[in-house]
Amino acid sequence: MLLKELLREEWRMHSTMFGNTNFILFSLVIFGLCALFALITPLFISSKSILSFSHYLFFALGISIGSFGLSGREVLNKRFGEISFIAYSSKILPVSVKQIFLNFALKDLMYYTFFFIIPFCTAFIISSAITTITITQASLMFITIPLTFFFGLSLSFLMTTIYSRSKIIIQLIIGCSIVYVFLNLGFFTQEIVYENMLPPLQLFFNPTMKMLIVNITLSAGLFLISTLLFNFEFKAKGKGHKTLFRASKKPSAIKAFMLKDFIDLHRSQGGFGKILFSFLIPILIIEVMMSFVLKIFSVSGEGLLILFSVIIGVTASTIYNWLAEFDNAKKYLNLPINPKKICLSKTGLSIILGIISGSGLLIISFLFSEASITSLGFSFIIFTSVFAITLSVLVYLTGLNPNTLLFDAKTFLKYMLTLAPIIVFFMLQAFSYSKINHLFLIPAPIILTTISIALFKKSMKKITIFE
């Protein structure tokens, strides 16, 4: 009953914003993009590698989504602000917050299955007619991909729940894992390790009833433990927070907003862990997997680094989503502020945080890639220009509401179609890196950065001062 109402509520919320057709179209857009992926990639990469990569992709997505362990009850108003939802009704309805949360998580799982997993797997079923992927393999994905997503989500939920209670434990686990992998690079470049490290992938390559039961029990067990440890209640801290704002001799609205956004990110539950779990760790997983898959196809270290710089550049823009999540322009209508300045400050802070965290990731990628130091500098330029164009496209299309407007099929399609040629261009360069001249690649970042600035200026004109 509660689940049904939550599903209905989520549906109405989206359909009110974008219309029923547009909301349903969102899954068709995802299907179209997945179909392209399923049809094109087998031309270049072996079916086994694609299938392994697909599983790791959904594992990374699960890790990213499961980071709600960080947010405590904030997750319930994460995407759509302080609106009265069923999720908030535990104090006025005879339902416990734990019960609401479990149903909320189940509802999210169903929505992700409907909007992402089913279109993805269906695309593979269709592509099996003309590619090397068999219909049996594609059908099996309907079981193993949801399990992979659920496994990633449960693992991340557990990690982030522990993180919200003790940061040191998780920092130690992550730190030790990185050092361990780095010291045993030889071991981690064996294909067999990747197949065995992810239980649903093991099930995919070796489908037995026993393995299926193990998988379900493992993910459900992790989820159950996380639920038991999860912090359900907002507890107002008795202690105060030291004032970080000081009177300024040269006051500026943009500086004030940047500091406010920084404080929001820092003080909201999970703090900077949100960037760690929703951006850095999933990208690292995808990178490690890709470096393994692509090395088989003799992609050079330099090529790999270019590819990673593009992936990091595209995903670093999610920091803007985090910064836009905590408030909306309506909150500042009592102040003499043009919403353009709010957008400018959020973009500015996204650039600072994106470049810091993205550079860290790029350096880790560099250590794994065996590329030259010159390539690192060059990859940094590509990363910043791809980051700039992704961010400016996101701001242009969604303004101060990226977390809601990206669910609009038309907006999402525009977003993907604008970025796809850029990603494909750099991918092709990465695959043929050793054969081309550096000079050929140099104009691309300059052009991208110029377009980004122009697009950003255009976005500013679109933002209206009135509510």
Partner: protein, 235 residues
């Protein structure tokens, strides 16, 4: 001297006409109360006057600024206490006031801010995050952000709903003091006793129409109290 002028303003939300050809003026140094039942259009009118919402037609001048053309410039000189909006969740009270000072490009406001924290008796809670404050303290914070920089006009939407009686009394006294010094207050409320107590002039609004504006003393000569006047005029 007329400080707020509203001429033939109309505003619709879809098919709903929220304001219908409304006109009114407010003089400097007075407390003007806009009274009306729920859904009469009070909040929409305040939003238009403070440049938060654009009217479909008509002219609005506040402090001689065309608020539709230059909403941000006009807001620099005015204080606004909105009906519902809350301060950003993760700033503490003192930080929010400093944040407001910086966004208003004001320097040396620390003493003014401390004064307001003390005056509304929430100095002890200055380090608490906004999300952890009680509704009453949040309202104190919103009052402080509207007054600390000594604006020329303050717009208040339902001013006292969450304040305890002691603070209400203190604040009402302050409003009188503030207008005596040349400030102007535009408040909208459906608490008629409060309007009767503090306002110099009241405007009656119903179904988007500003029906009448009148001096409170004059009204009280005609009617037993503001409630009786309201019942007669609105009906």
């Amino acid at each position: 001297m007329e400080i707020i002028e509203l001429t033939n303003i109309s505003k619709s939300y879809g098919k709903t006409k929220a304001i219908k050809n409304a006109s009114l003026t407010v003089n400097k140094g007075e407390i003007f109360g806009l009274v009306g039942p729920n859904g009469a259009g009070k909040t929409t009118l305040v939003k238009i006057l403070t440049g938060q919402t654009k009217p479909d037609k008509g002219e609005v001048t506040v402090l001689k600024n065309n608020i539709v053309k230059h909403p941000v410039k006009a807001r620099e000189k005015i204080g606004i206490i909105p009906e519902q909006e809350t301060p950003p969740s993760f700033l503490n009270s003192e930080e929010y006031l400093q944040f407001c000072a910086q966004t208003r490009k004001l320097t040396n406001q620390t003493d003014n801010i401390r004064e307001w924290l003390e005056f509304l008796e929430f100095k002890n809670e200055k380090n608490k995050l906004s999300k952890d404050l009680s509704r009453g303290t949040r309202q104190k914070l919103m009052i402080s952000q509207a007054f600390f920089f000594k604006p020329e006009i303050v717009f208040i939407d339902e001013p006292l709903v969450n304040l305890d009686p002691l603070i209400q009394r203190k604040f009402k006294k302050y409003l009188r003091k503030y207008v005596k010094k040349g400030g102007t207050v535009f408040l909208c409320t459906h608490v008629l006793s409060m309007a009767e107590e503090v306002c110099d002039t009241v405007g009656f609004i119903n179904e988007g129409n500003v029906i009448k504006t009148e001096n409170v003393k004059k009204l009280l000569k005609q009617y037993k109290n503001l409630e009786s006047a309201f019942m007669r005029i609105i009906k």
